[in-house]
Amino acid sequence: MEILLVNDLWVRYFTLSGVVSAVSGVSFKLRRGEMLAIVGESGSGKSTLGLALLNMVPKPGRIIRGEVIFDGVDILKLDLHEIRKIRGSRISMVFQDPFTTLDPLRRIVDQFEEFLIEHGVDRAKARTIVREYLEAVGLSERIMYSYPHQLSGGQKQRVSIAMAIALNPEVIIADEPTTALDVVVQKQIMDLIDNIKEKYKSSIILITHDLALALERADTIMVMYGGYAMEYAEKKELFNNMKHPYTKALFEALPRILQRDLPRSLPGYPPDLRNPPPGCIFHPRCEFAIEKCKREPPPLIEVSRNHFVRCHRVGELL
């Protein structure tokens, strides 16, 4: 049973220097309790996609078309008042940089309670919930009365996570939740997110640039490049049968313990989304590109059950 269904979503930024196609025709479904990793490099549109799911794409961006069906309702058709009730309580978000996600002038408990009360929790109960969820993410009670600058990055990210889970949301969007943290804290935070998934049965969308992290933690993986979903499959299927040249390149770029030589890096640069290359957006960097790739954008092909690949040569290549 799907909790979230995204259908043919297009997002564009209308900047002064041109139109940027940040998300191009992305579709996916998210089952209850599933962790979907959206993997892509900087500028692949993955963060914009995350924001679009809450209809929060910042100006001058606009959602051109598509549907985000959450629990049977298209979120993009809701008015501001209705979507506000969903934000934070049924779909919540954890941001990338914990150093700037909390209001520096207000104590943790004040920010936390404000948000709970906004969603109809009564004042007396709010304090208990704050205490309960700070404990759930492994923070001591004292932290409540601190200001954000008194906390470490890891502690701040835990506070953000505590806020994100406090109202038992069905979907949690975690936009690079560990990128700004050091490796040890990264693991703690990811373990925490895993625990939350088990304990609260929330579905999680993990937005990351780290394919290794996705392969380690997620159930399903979607690889994005230049705003397009390039490959989308269950983790095992993707790991054993990766089809798309870009996915393979990402995989080969991972360092491996038993490998003597350096990991292979993908030559070239990400596409300029103001002037995307014609045909397949990946063809300028693709070693398998043929004439057809330069002319026609490839469709998303289902190569096996629930395994989608956007490549013309998917049949010929392994």
């Binding site: 929060m56 910042p58 100006k59 934070g88 940089d97 909390l102 207000r106 906004e118």
Partner: protein, 277 residues
């Protein structure tokens, strides 16, 4: 809420402390005018043009009124008009700046255009024109001064909102489902207040001088109500005849009060920049 320690830290700043003392002296003068002043400010209480003496500390004017008493009562009008003007322009400018900066779009462009047009006028000339159009009265003078200073607040607040609204914690507040009014009032306004305080005190100093100028040309109170600016005007004819006291003391009061506010503003801005490091 600021703690006692924080208040002490603020008062340790010599600029703020001295400015505050000056301003408070005038405030108490205004409040306690009935008790402090030795004579009625509007009646002849002694010989005309009497130089300062023990009986008449600042001398008497050409109608035999005690200048000291007039200076004391004059602080009332001065403080009332500037306070009204500053509060009005501060409130309107801040609210419009918040709305304009946060919402952006067409409304922002229209408001900014209006504010820039007001700002482009020489402030004193605009204030004079407005208060002539409204008719001379203390309230109208306050309104005229307020209109002139609204853009000062508007521009400052709008600029700050523009930078703050792109912070991640504002995005986070939106992602948590907080409504815009709440975000603006609880998560943006508090970040603006410190700069607002500097502008507020600086603007008070400015408004005092503008008020004095309006009074000088008779656009605030009707005689015989005591008023520094107008007394300055009346006294100017006697200076050349050697009767300096009629003009000196009201003029000195205007300057001193303006300096007081300027000192506070200087102190607050150094305090803020030292905290920011």
């Amino acid at each position: 809420m600021p703690s006692v320690l924080e208040v002490i830290a603020v008062l340790k700043n010599k600029y703020i402390l001295s400015g505050l003392i000056i301003v408070l002296i005038f405030v108490f003068m205004a409040i306690l005018a009935d008790i402090i002043s030795p004579y009625s400010p509007v009646e002849a209480v002694g010989p005309p043009l009497h130089p300062p003496s023990r009986l008449y500390l600042m001398g008497t004017d050409n109608l035999g009124r005690d200048v000291f008493s007039r200076v004391i009562y004059g602080s009332r009008i001065m403080l009332m008009i500037t306070a009204m003007a500053v509060v009005m322009s501060g409130a309107i400018g801040t609210v419009l700046g918040l709305i304009s900066g946060y919402l952006g779009g067409l409304l922002d462009r229209v408001l900014s255009f209006i504010m820039d047009s007001i700002y482009a006028f020489p402030s004193l000339i605009l204030a004079i024109a407005l208060s002539v159009a409204l008719g001379p009265s203390p309230i109208n003078a306050a309104i005229a001064i307020a209109v002139v200073y609204v853009p000062t607040y508007f521009r400052m607040v709008r600029g700050q909102v523009l930078s703050i609204k792109n912070e991640t914690y504002i995005e986070m507040a939106r992602a948590l489902g907080l409504p815009s009014t709440r975000i603006v009032l609880r998560h943006i306004l508090p970040h603006v207040t410190r700069t607002l305080m500097v502008v507020f005190s600086m603007n008070s100093a400015d408004a005092i001088l503008t008020e004095a100028a309006l009074s000088f040309i008779g656009l605030t109170v009707q005689p015989p109500t005591p008023d520094w600016g107008f007394d300055l005007y009346k006294g100017r004819g006697f200076v050349l005849a050697g009767m300096w006291w009629i003009m000196l003391f009201p003029g000195l009061s205007i300057t001193l009060l303006a300096v007081g506010f300027a000192l506070i503003s200087e102190g607050v801005s150094t305090l803020i920049s030292s905290q920011k490091r």
